[in-house]
């Protein structure tokens, strides 16, 4: 390889340095390179290996330094952090608001059903009439709403639903709360074992009168929770997209407002 072509290659390599560094030191580096090539006391092979190693190391080093200079500015970081915070709050709202609307909406028919059944029982109708069990709902599979009547001790009296052949009973703490407050709206999980999970949107009402007790109106949350999952995935996607835009935007803004010192 001729001397001229080696120098041409070095000139090309110099163009790989960051602009500010190249403008500031490019001519002096080229001069040092020429001095080295003219220096008879330095073996040519040793000099060329020095130049190659130097190029590999200093190119990486100067580009990292340039990145720190361009993107490591506190104002840039602060702006990006504020935007990331805003987008996180937005994404949380994007999930939390529809999730609450969906979950509250899941109680809608049960509120009326529990109230009606409690009224019938308070009027003295026997539980089997107040809560007619024409077809029993399988709580593990069906999405249909159902009503269950319990006596004051929490023992089932009449039920439109069964789970694994039995009428499930909510935790006694729920009855205690309803006894004190008149009504409770809960997400009830009557079954969670061996990967089988049943969750119910339940409204529990107190039954007054001569035969006090409780009425529970419920409906499977399976479909609602699937929609909640979809909302969560969309919110996550929106959050990642917003963060991506912030990263790209900060990068572009940082690049165009980079310090330009000769």
């Amino acid at each position: 390889m001729t001397g001229d072509s080696v120098e041409k290659l070095y000139l090309i390599a110099l163009r790989l340095y960051p602009e500010r560094f190249r403008l500031a030191h490019g001519p002096a580096m080229l001069q040092a390179f020429r001095d080295g090539r003219r220096d008879a006391s330095l073996p040519r092979r040793q000099f060329l290996s020095l130049i190659l190693v130097d190029l590999a190391i200093s190119l990486v080093k100067e580009h990292l330094a340039m990145m720190r200079e361009v993107f490591g500015r506190p104002a840039l970081f602060f702006n990006a952090a504020v935007l990331a915070g805003i987008s996180t709050v937005l994404a949380l709202a994007l999930y939390a608001i529809p999730q609450q609307v969906l979950r509250q909406g899941a109680n809608d028919p049960q509120i009326a059903m529990a109230g009606d059944a409690a009224a019938r029982l308070e009027q003295g109708q026997p539980p089997s009439e107040a809560i007619p069990a024409e077809s029993v709902v399988d709580m593990a599979r069906s999405l249909s709403p159902f009503v269950i009547a319990y006596d004051d001790a929490g023992t089932p009296l009449a039920s439109q639903a069964q789970l694994n052949g039995q009428t499930p009973v909510p935790p006694h703490g729920v009855f205690d709360y309803v006894r004190a407050h008149g009504e409770e709206r809960i997400s009830w999980q009557p079954l969670y074992r061996n990967g089988q999970r049943v969750r119910i949107a339940a409204v529990v009402e107190r039954v007054g009168g001569a035969h006090p007790g409780f009425v529970l109106a419920g409906r499977s949350l399976r479909e609602v929770e699937m929609r909640e999952e979809q909302v969560l995935r969309m919110a996550q996607l929106a959050w990642v997209a917003m963060l991506g835009l912030i990263v790209v935007g900060t990068g572009v803004f940082g690049w165009y407002t980079r310090p330009r010192t000769a």
Partner: protein, 114 residues
């Protein structure tokens, strides 16, 4: 003169070699590279990229300055600043202590005073 220790001690091999080279007099890039490569200069392999990158940061830290004297517009001469001289002295002091510790541990031969 300030007695505050200079920030950045211990110095990197490249910075130390550049300061040591410039302690003698102001020099241009290739002279500094040659000095650094010699055994007395620390045998540090400084190529142009590493040299000018280091000089760039050392000028920003106030350790060296361009002298403004040049026989060729492409050749820039650099000189030590007072801070650079103090940093070099502190580094040499630190190394001297380490060498003395090495001697007392028998890791280096004792030298007789001439």
């Amino acid at each position: 003169m300030s007695t505050q220790p200079v920030a950045g001690i211990p110095l990197s091999a490249a910075v130390f070699a550049i300061l040591l080279s410039l302690a003698e007099r102001e020099k241009h890039g290739y002279q500094i590279m040659k000095d650094a490569l010699s055994p007395e200069g620390g045998a540090v392999r400084l190529g142009p990229g590493t040299l000018y990158g280091s000089l760039d940061r050392m000028m920003r830290d106030g350790l060296v300055a361009e002298s403004g004297v040049s026989d060729d517009e492409r050749r820039r001469y650099y000189k030590l600043t007072a801070l650079g001289r103090r940093a070099l002295a502190e580094e040499l002091e630190r190394l001297d202590l380490a060498v003395r510790a090495g001697r007392s541990l028998g890791l280096l031969p004792h030298r007789s005073r001439s």
